[in-house]
Amino acid sequence: MLSTKIRWNAVPILFLLASSALVPMASGTNVWTNALPTTNLNSAAGSNRSNVAPLYGSMCDANISTCPGGTNAPYILGDQFNLTGPTNISQVTVFEVGNVATDGASGVSPDTPADEFSAITLYLGADGSSLANISSSYSAFQVQYNFSTNYESIGSPGTFYPIFAITFSGLNVNLLGGLNDFAIGATPIGGNVFALHASDPLLSGAEEDSSTVTPNGFLYYFYDGSGGAPIATYQYTPGSINGYNNNADANVLIVGTAITPEPSTFGLFGMGLAAVCLGLRRRAHRV
């Protein structure tokens, strides 16, 4: 009888163990990777150049005025990413090309993003809807292509700029499966301009999830009227950047954890568990 009780008491523990098997580790995994390019870099690649850093600015928003020639409004940049199912996002890393040139192709940055922008903000949300302000708390450090090379200016070949990995961590954002968007807002100090790093997924030589799902280029976001939330309005097409004619998907690394399965899965699991419990209980009664 004692052994039966112990087994009966162990059912909740078994349930927890089984549940933990359904829910991946809380630390998260890479759910979307659009890494920095490793090939066809800078001016040496010629027309095959894979790296570009489009600048923030302003342009006509067709939703509020007639384009072209209408009233300009500020835009920020971001891109789509695809989730295979409901996911809890814990970390997002984007790449920004700094405003102050480095000393040569492999030089160290003379400043940091915090010196150039009073705030850098991450926005997330479902593709097709206004994005939510998620976090303005980030860490940043300089990175280089293949651990050796900085970004070379398109307009001024021979001038190199630092690349910063900007990481928003400690997030706890639930997103649905399917296409979602991220965007990066920035409040400049002085005349600094944010430049979001992007690359052609077919030329970059690196892991680019967008090469199979959304190889269409980054998105332009304008702030809508509901509390300044950004919403995508235009999509980059080759030829929309002066001096660069290839694809341009924003580089981003997204870490998250798949949320527990859909209700039907839990329903089947619960029915099975109930059957096991019923069997154990009847066996205990027989004893």
Partner: protein, 145 residues
């Protein structure tokens, strides 16, 4: 006797599961939507099953439909879509509004707009959808660093 009973129950359960009508996709949205005319309040449930022949109407938010073959359809807010009853070669017919779709490699899913087939593996269709789903190229060039 009891063992026989349990075996029978298990056989019936397995049979029901095996021959039950299978969903062809899952639906997810950040707010309520209509499924076959009934309002579905998401209430924290991340994804709902979509059965053949279903009619889906997005309300204030887009609805994402993830097909079992990996294809994806995003219906813009205030748009409607009707699936036919086929399981092996389903069709999705845009009735109102707009949608964006991406077909998986080898997908048998057929996309229609008002009953007219839409070609292509990835596109936006419709005319009155959410502006964010209709993304034209920017009206002017921008600069890069």
């Amino acid at each position: 006797m009891r063992r026989t009973f349990y075996i029978c129950v298990m056989v019936v359960a397995v049979g029901v599961c095996a021959f039950a009508r299978q969903p062809i996709a899952t639906i997810s949205s950040s707010s309520s939507f209509e499924l076959d005319g009934s309002l579905v309040n998401i209430g924290g449930v991340p994804a709902w099953p979509l059965m053949p022949g279903a009619r889906v109407a997005a309300k204030s938010s887009p609805v994402v439909i993830a097909m079992r073959d990996g294809s994806r359809i995003t219906i813009a807010a205030n748009s409607q879509i009707q699936f036919d009853s086929s399981v092996t070669s389903p069709s999705a017919n845009l009735i109102a509004g707009s949608m964006q779709f991406t077909l998986a490699s080898g997908s048998n899913l057929r996309i229609l707009q008002g009953g007219t087939p839409v070609n292509g593996r990835s596109s936006s269709v419709g005319s009155q959808g959410d502006r964010a789903l209709l993304r034209p190229p920017p009206p002017s060039k921008i600069s890069a660093r």
